[in-house]
Structures are given as structure tokens and as C-alpha cells.
Symmetry: C2
Subunit: 441 residues, 2 copies
């Protein structure tokens, strides 16, 4: 890499070379069968160079030296045609890094057979336990990644990691009732995926969903499940923590530092070192040391997250939240591993304390949320009706509201936490909210 950096410096004032080498195996499930097994591997090199304040960015599907050199030249020709970025300061400098995480070597060369076996086991279990259930979809994967980020200011970080996941989507058919698709996940840094637990949790919900209940307009306590929470916060809340949005004045949190923006039971951090994280990282996509960043502590807003570019524009320090998009090669502000603090009560206890309310598993339409103000309008489906402390059936309704108002209504977080590896990893308990206004459908 040293030689390539020297080559890059012939053209650029500053240059960064990031190499990503990935290998993955996967299986897909369709209608009770394994529909596909795959082995994928690739190398990607991203060049970012700055010449006279002009940026060049090239991506090449290779780590071969001559190809990378050609990509450096390509990035340079592109930089020359761009205009000067007046806001540009510099690429990052090295810092003090957390001790590297030891990946599980089992994952490096995992065979798809492991996943095929798990998928078959899960399908068999689901159909034995509930002959009315169909495993309509699902899949599993084991991924391994090696990344090497080097720049002309001395950054040189090599990281290795791997993770495995599995999920099943079930639909139950009983008489005229066809349940919505219900799914559950497991994701870990080793191969000990809890296939039985995933299937059993899914079947429990299918059981609830066989009894369809109507919903009406009312204010009720609502418990959001991990998938609902992760989806809603990803679109409605997390973007508001971005330092870029602070600079551009498109976050509602601009003047809220140190203020109560959620109920006291809500604490949220971005913790790349958390023991359940499926991809712990000691440096971000541009080689800046990562750290645990508190976002909300006991309801109080604690601060924004930054990548190198926007931090330098604002004159603050990068929080190690520069995340690289391997498709575009670009760096943008993102969270690594969101952890929502859990509580003491079990989900069962939380349900038992509700006379009339809902446990919401999925929220549809969360992607249309507006992070500029926190407004959202979603369909709760599947949602499970709780009567006298027990789940008695499933329902569908609408919730239109504002994430900051909702967060103030939170009154309990469960002891159980789930690792949700969708879009962004979110480790979350079940969260109960009081007086949620719902519209029957």
C-alpha cells in the first residue's frame, strides 16, 4: 500500500486508498424449500484524492496493483475537471484506536452447507409445530470482510470481521384467515444461530395472528417490537443526529443539546464495541478511531455524530462516524451499532400490565418519515391486541405522529434485547409507550 500511496501523491496533495475484500455464503428459502445457495467474493478498492481542493473518487473491482494505479489516474483526471470544494480542509490523521476485535475464524471459510442445514432444520420445525404454517421466505448468510484503509497522512488501519444471520418468514393459513407474513431474525459473530428460538418466536406470533381483531380510533398503550423500533428510528430519528444536518440546518435537534427530548427511560448510544455488535469496528470508513457516542442519555440529547469532512467544516472533531458506501465509494455520516438501553421487566410482565393495548411487530411506511421534523405516518402490521394482560389476536391500524412526542411517552423498556441486522444494526429492547393515538383500519 505504501507504494500505491507514493504513486497517488505524484498526482494528489492528499490521497486515501481503501481496500475491501469480502467473502460470503448465503442461502435463500422460498415456499418451504431451499431456493438457492451461493458463494460470493470480491475485492473493491476506493481511491479518494484531493488536488488543489478538487476531489477525485474512483472505485475499482480489484486490488491488483496495476488496476489500482489506473484507478488513481482516473480519479486524478476526474478531479481536474471538478471545481474546487471551498469547504475542503484535509483527510483525517491517525488517532488512538481501541484494541482490535478477534473475529471468529469459523466464519472465514464457512460453507453454505451450514446454512442449508439450518434452513432445513427451521423449515422442518415450523411445519411440524404448525401444519398450517408455510415458510414463505427467509434466508441466511455468513459474511467475512477484511478492510484496509490507508492515507497519505499516516492512517493505516487493517480490520477483519465476520458475522452470520438467519431469518424465517412464515404465513399461517387457517380457514379463511391468512396471516400477514411474520418474521424473526438472529444475527451473531459466530455460527451458533438460534434457529429453534427464531422459529418458535415466529410461530408464537402466527398463533396470535390466527385470531383477527378489529381496531378503532383510540389512545392506548403500545409496545413496539425490535423490528418496528429499528425501522421507525432509522428513518425518523437517526438522521437527526448527523452533524452534516446541523451544518445544513435540517435537523430539529439544532438547539436541543442538553435538553430533554425523550422520556427518562430512553438512553441511546452508538456503540461500535458492544458485545452483541455483529460488526465491531475500531476505525470508521476513513480510518478515524471509532468510539462509543452517547446520543440520548436518560432522555437528554447528548450530541451529534461527525465524519472527517463535516467535523472540519464545523471546526469540531470527527466522532468516527464516517461510513463508506461500497457502491458509490463515498463517505457519509452514519451510525455503526445503535444500542438502546434495556430495562428490568420481561416482555411478558410488560404485556401482563396492559389492560387494553397493542404489541406492534412491524411498521410499514416508516421510510416516508420526515427526519427534518420527526413526523411519521405508519401502518402497524402485524399488531397484536392485548386484553387483560394477554395477547388475544392480531390487528392492523395506523399511527401518525411525531417521533419526539412518541419518545416522551415511553414508560418501559424490556429486559430482552434483540439484534436487528436490518439496514443498520440496532440492538433494542421492546419499548412501551403510553397514550399512543391510533386510527383503526
Amino acid at each position: 500500500m505504501e507504494e500505491l500511496i507514493r504513486f497517488g501523491e505524484k498526482y494528489f496533495d492528499e490521497v486515501e486508498i481503501a481496500v475491501y475484500r469480502t467473502r460470503g455464503v448465503g442461502v435463500s428459502i422460498e415456499l418451504n424449500e431451499i431456493s438457492m445457495a451461493a458463494v460470493k467474493s470480491r475485492s473493491i478498492t476506493v481511491i479518494r484524492g484531493i488536488a488543489g481542493g478538487r476531489l477525485g473518487l474512483a472505485v475499482v473491482d480489484s486490488e491488483e496493483k496495476e488496476e489500482v494505479k489506473r484507478a488513481i489516474e482516473m480519479a486524478y483526471r476526474m478531479a481536474r475537471l471538478n471545481s474546487r470544494d471551498e469547504k475542503w480542509v484535509s483527510l483525517p490523521e491517525p488517532g488512538k484506536y481501541h484494541e482490535p476485535f478477534k473475529p471468529n475464524e469459523e466464519l472465514r471459510e464457512a460453507s453454505p452447507d451450514v446454512l442449508v442445514e439450518m434452513a432445513v432444520r427451521g423449515i422442518k420445525l415450523a411445519r411440524e409445530k404448525d401444519p398450517n404454517a408455510v415458510v414463505v421466505g427467509g434466508g441466511g448468510g455468513v459474511g467475512w470482510e477484511e478492510s484496509h484503509v490507508v492515507n497519505s497522512h499516516g492512517i493505516d488501519v487493517f480490520q477483519t470481521g465476520g458475522a452470520a444471520h438467519i431469518y424465517f418468514e412464515l404465513v399461517g393459513r387457517k380457514g379463511d384467515t391468512v396471516t400477514p407474513g411474520i418474521f424473526e431474525f438472529d444475527a451473531r459473530r459466530d455460527l451458533n444461530l438460534d434457529v429453534e428460538g427464531v422459529v418458535e418466536r415466529t410461530l408464537q406470533k402466527i398463533q396470535w395472528a390466527y385470531s383477527v381483531k378489529s381496531s378503532k380510533n383510540e389512545e392506548v398503550p403500545v409496545i413496539l417490537g425490535p423490528w418496528a423500533t429499528a425501522g421507525l428510528l432509522y428513518f425518523a430519528l437517526f438522521p437527526a443526529f448527523s452533524g452534516e444536518r446541523l451544518v445544513k440546518e435540517t435537523t430539529p435537534l439544532g438547539d436541543k443539546l442538553g435538553q430533554q427530548i425523550a422520556s427518562e427511560i430512553i438512553s441511546i448510544a452508538d456503540d461500535p464495541f458492544h458485545e452483541l455488535s455483529i460488526s465491531p469496528v475500531i476505525a470508521d470508513g476513513e480510518g478515524v478511531p471509532t468510539r462509543r457516542n452517547e446520543l440520548i442519555k436518560k432522555g437528554v440529547f447528548r450530541g451529534f455524530v461527525w465524519d472527517n469532512y463535516w467535523a472540519k467544516v464545523k471546526g469540531v472533531e470527527s466522532t468516527g462516524n464516517g461510513v463508506r458506501d461500497l457502491r458509490s465509494g463515498g463517505i457519509s455520516i452514519g451510525l455503526h451499532n445503535v444500542v438502546i438501553e434495556n430495562g428490568r421487566k420481561s416482555l411478558e410482565e410488560m404485556i401482563s400490565e396492559i389492560d387494553h393495548g397493542y404489541l406492534v411487530d412491524g411498521l410499514q411506511g416508516a421510510h416516508s418519515s420526515n427526519p427534518d421534523n420527526g413526523n411519521f405516518a405508519v401502518t402497524a402490521n402485524p399488531a397484536f391486541l392485548i386484553e387483560n394482560g394477554e395477547v388475544v389476536g392480531s390487528s392492523v391500524f395506523l399511527i401518525a405522529g411525531n417521533i419526539y412526542e412518541l419518545l416522551k411517552q415511553a414508560y418501559e423498556v424490556s429486559r430482552e434485547v434483540t439484534v436487528m441486522p436490518v439496514m443498520q444494526t440496532v440492538i433494542t429492547p421492546y419499548i412501551a409507550f403510553e397514550n399512543v393515538r391510533i386510527a383503526g383500519k
Copy 2:
């Protein structure tokens, strides 16, 4: 490949090996600058084998012999764990193929520099012609693909092709008016992309969009532009032509063969050999000869399209519409190159004949259309208001309707045709519909 097929036959009754070798270069545009240049290349091999009616499907990111052999074994282990597909008949047999298309060799090793140059030229032109315009996005690509599909029944088809595309998305800001993002494409089988034409068409629309007009509830003539037409038909109409849906009884066309389902001016064919097609193919994803399939001729529904599997289930012949998804490896029924027949009048004449109506450029929400019945509900944005034969401004409104009712209201198709390379290639004129009920927004 012969050796690999023989190896596969050791395990399977029938086996298919499909190799895809792709190379592509691309550039992205963001806020008046080139944000990325990329070179990508990969090889994918898909194995489909059937042993005792059980299907195994493996995908591997390689065409190296030993890797492919391992994938064959992996597919076999997977097949053994699946249950027998009672509907399975057999993989396809070879047929009579159209003469191969000669690809443009310029595309094989194209440099991203060509695209960088075009992108810079387009950005420069846009900003010179309209200082209020910002090129918010866009991009270009040159792709080259070689595919080789072989099976144990003697199919052995090698195809080569390439295409280039470019698009620009502009937003205009004038006073308090910010126009919606407006974009235009060009796609061809050579590098002669019409950058100037694309930019000029976009600027024309930006010009129209500076004047914002309100819309109200009414019935008016509406001209749908190529992007709006392609998007709406892709989701609301094209799935209905699938033979699989005929078998599963999820198409509203089940009993409509030979019947008038659209106005007489509407003729639609899937024509893989059309001169403007950006990816002409002589065989589909499973090696079956492709052909021109008439879907609607002068408003009359002419027939369904089939892949090998569903054709054999139904006892008909495959129409060469087995399309391979390179991510899942699977074959499903799809169209290659939809061609909507054009007419004699120019778009300008069509506009000049409207006293009060709209020219609709984009339709949002088309993906929520229901292909089971053709119902759709979309937001027309941008839509351009026509008064006394001239475009006088832009507006937004809703159209909720049914695609089959809409198609009967078609009264004119333009002389101009556009190649829309989005989702699926659709070569389409502007289409005018009478008495379209719109809801002002």
C-alpha cells in the same frame, strides 16, 4: 463447459450451467460535479440441477473450473434436502435461433473517461443555458456482457452485447420556486449518446416548471411521457402477461384472449430484436430462442409470455421469456424489450390540439399498483399544464384509476419514441388519453 456438464450429470438427471461475465464503467454526478468514476467486472456462474424431481440451484462468483465443480456439488447437496417438485417436467431443448447481433466493440473496453467527458459537457451546457439550474444528480454507464448458457439437453448459446446510457437530473431555483427534480435519459448500443439533446429536453421542462399552477378535480386529456408510461405499465400491466399468473389465476387477462382490452391505437410487443433495443437477445436466460411476441395488437390482447417451467406445466411452448435474476440465480417470466407502437403526429402537434389538459412527465407511487386487477393510484409530478395548445406551467395532481380503463381512453401516440432503460427497457411514444379524472393537490 462440456466437461462441466458431464461432471454435473454424475449428480443430476438434468443440469444447466450459465456463465455471465460482465464489465462496466460508470460515473455519478452530484451537485454539478462528478462524484465518482468506477470500473467493475465480475463473473458469475449459476448451476441448476434436477435430481429425482428435486431442484438444486447454486450461484458462485467465479467461472474457474474447480469452483464451478464445487458449486455443482453444493447444488446437489441442496437438491437432496428439498422435496420433489411434482410439477417439474424438464429443462429446455435447443431450438432455432435468430442470427446473433453484432455488438459495438468500442463498448468492450470503454474507459470511464468517455463518460466523465460527457458528464462534464452536460453539466457545463446546463449551467450555461440556465444559470438557475443545478445538476443535482445523474450518471452514465457503459456495460459489456458475455453470457454462455449450456444444458445437458444440448443447449449451448453464447451471447455478447453492450450498451451505454447517460442521464441528468436538474432542479431549477428561481425566486421562491424550486422545481421538482426533472430528468432525461439516453441509452444506445454505441457511445453516440445525445448529451446535448438530453440536457436540452431537461432544460425545456425546467423552464415549464418555473411557473407553478394549481390543479383541481376534473376530467381532462392527459399525455403521458415515456418515463410515466414505462413506470405505470411495468407495475400495473406487464405482470398480467405472465403465463405463471395465468396458471395461478392472478391475472385479469385470463379470459381476455382475442378481446379488446385497449384503444385501437395501442399495440404493444415484446421485441428482443428491435433496432433500438439496448440488449437484443437471441436466447433467453435458459437458452430458449427468443422471438417477437405480440401482447396487444390494435387494442386486442394477443397472448401470454412463458418461460420453460410454466410453459411445460401448462402444456404450451415457451415464448423465450425466461429471464435470469443474477442475484438469486433463478429464472422467472419477464419481458426483454417492450415496444409500444408509435404514430404519425409529433408531440408538439399533440400538445397544440389540447385546449386544457396535462403533459405528465413522472408518476410517483406506480410501484404500489395492483397487477391482479390493474388498479393504480399515483401522483403526477412533474405534470405540465397545457392551455390553448401550449405548455404554460407545472402542477401536481393525483390519478387513481384502472390501467385497462385508461388504455381504452388512449386517443393518440406520438411519432417520437424514447428508449427508457429503467427497470425494464420500454421503447415508447408519448401517449395521449382522453377524459382522465384527476384530483387536484
